[in-house]
């Protein structure tokens, strides 16, 4: 059995530092296994969230060697083990204690997005008919496990702390899933431009890079929404044509 070194961030409400631990590692271990082993053997009071250990609940989000990752899906053999592996809490959210952060800001953001507003049912029994082709496009967005790793890596939140202005990639994906839905009738474009400030995204694609569900956040959700916002607010020809359509 090999021994590996880990530097875990220990502290409360943003005050703290990295503490180094050594622990035995075996084949197939993931970062979460090592963290839980350290918790069991050396640091019983270490705070760390996890639930499924299968990359599906989105609770074990942290920054491993500086990159936002799910601890349960990051295998140790994918990391350089000659130096200590650093594990710190997500930086775009307030620290509670050790590796646990307060992600409740996200829940408030979600509540403000206009909900799904389907058209009248297509059949008398209150059901709808949709073509597979039309739902295929939004299907990808429904894989989101709300791990908020994309929010964490997004520099608008992480570095510029613009939580008051910007909803972040997770909720642009959410808005895209509703806005592009074949049954939805509501219009979120003005909100996206003025309240969600989609214009703050500078399409640098870090969100796409870290998404554990491999959702093509920037290309399939954000850019298509940006294009719809252009249609509505920035394209003079489209605006002109719309004048005629209304008449």
């Amino acid at each position: 059995m090999k021994t590996a070194r880990f530097k875990l961030w220990r502290g409360e409400r943003g005050e703290g530092d990295f503490v180094e631990y050594e622990t035995k590692i075996t084949e197939g271990m993931v970062v979460l296994d090592a963290v839980l082993q350290i918790q069991a053997e050396q640091a019983n009071d270490l705070a760390c969230r996890w639930n499924c250990k299968a990359g599906k609940c989105g609770s074990c989000s942290a920054e491993v060697n500086g990159m936002p990752k799910l601890m349960c899906m990051t295998r140790l053999n994918s990391l350089p083990m000659d130096k200590p592996v650093t594990v710190e809490p997500m930086r775009a959210f307030p620290s509670i204690r050790d590796l646990a952060t307060d992600v409740s800001w996200n829940y408030g953001v979600k509540e403000k997005i206009r909900p799904f507003a389907p058209r009248e049912p297509d059949a008398e029994d209150g059901t709808w008919r949709m073509s597979q082709k039309d739902v295929d496009r939004v299907q990808e967005f429904r894989k989101c496990i709300e791990c908020f790793l994309c929010q964490d890596v997004c520099h608008v939140l992480r570095d510029h702390h613009m939580h008051e202005d910007f909803i972040g990639p997770r909720f642009l994906v959410y808005a895209a899933a509703l806005e592009m839905h074949p049954l939805d009738t509501d219009d979120r474009l003005k909100d996206l431009k003025d309240d969600s400030n989609i214009g703050l995204c500078n399409i640098t694609k870090c969100c796409t890079k870290v998404c554990p569900e491999h959702i093509t956040i920037t290309d399939n959700a954000i850019i298509p929404l940006k294009e719809r916002v252009v249609d509505e607010f920035y394209d003079p020809v489209k605006k002109f044509l719309k004048l005629f359509r209304r008449k």
């Binding site: 990159m67 510029h160 870090c206 850019i223 294009e227 252009v230």
Partner: protein, 267 residues
């Protein structure tokens, strides 16, 4: 938006990160690649010579509106003063340059490489203020679709240049004859890569089908959407390949015209 009533860990300073891998390689590659292209294309545009060789026309100078005797509207007009730098490339190069400058892929890439906003994912930035593409000047990036329309027209001109590059003057008879030279293949490759890049544009993807929620109702648009999406998936690769090939096409025509390279006839 939801108010932020909490405090966060302080911002990391410029370049600060806990990432251990060489995160700076990609932005450095973009910086050098785009930087070299901008320097070369500006230099080439200012030359105003060696842009034609036999039936070949450098894509930096196509279409040639004013300039040589082959230009659409003839030679440079007399009213343009001699002290003013003039090149046929000035009249047209702004369109493809604007197309690339406002391209969603390049935007993301050069914001990182040239403006460090962010330098790379999860790496500290040099500035704390940020306007994004929400306000002037970057709000102007929304003009991209108009450059796309121009780029589609340019694609037709460049295709026409490939056609022209198939007809060589026979020195003994003085007439034109069909032929294929290495230059013909290079100009055709340029249209191929530029086509893959232009037809995979995000704005085109939106125009052709992305804007419609019930796309299944429009058979042709659905087929088009799938094709554009297929190219769009590799938009970055097309962007770099086409950038390299368009630059190389100019180098090729230039060096042949200067007599440094010989154009081999294949047919």
């Amino acid at each position: 938006m939801t108010s932020k009533s909490f405090s966060l860990s302080p911002r990391r300073s410029f370049g600060e990160t806990l990432r251990k891998e060489a995160w700076w390689i990609y932005p450095l590659f973009v910086f050098l690649g785009l930087g070299a292209f901008v320097v070369y294309s500006t230099w080439a545009a200012f030359q105003a010579e060696h842009y034609r060789f036999g039936p070949y026309l450098s894509p930096f100078y196509s279409p040639e509106l004013l300039g040589s005797e082959h230009a659409w509207f003839g030679a440079k007009p007399a009213w343009i003063p001699d002290w003013l730098p003039f090149s046929p490339a000035f009249l047209i190069l702004w369109a493809p340059a604007g197309f690339r400058l406002t391209c969603y892929y390049y935007r993301g890439a050069y914001y990182k490489a040239f403006w460090a906003d962010p330098p790379s994912c999860a790496v500290g930035e040099p500035r704390s203020s940020y306007r994004g593409e929400r306000k002037f000047p970057l709000i102007l990036q929304n003009v991209h679709r108009y450059f796309l329309y121009l780029a589609l027209v340019f694609l037709i001109f460049l295709l026409h240049d490939v056609w022209e590059a198939l007809w060589f003057v026979n020195p003994s008879t003085g007439g034109t004859e069909f032929g294929i030279g290495v230059g013909t293949i290079i100009l055709a490759a340029n249209v191929f890569f530029l086509g893959g890049y232009t037809l995979g544009c995000h704005s085109l993807r939106h125009l052709i089908g992305g804007s419609v929620d019930e796309i299944s109702k429009f058979k042709l648009r659905w087929d088009g959407y799938r094709c554009v999406t297929c190219l769009n998936n590799r938009h970055m690769v097309w962007a770099w390949c086409s950038l390299f090939v368009v630059g190389f096409s100019d180098v090729y025509v230039r060096l042949c015209s200067m007599g440094i390279w010989t154009d081999w006839r294949i047919l």
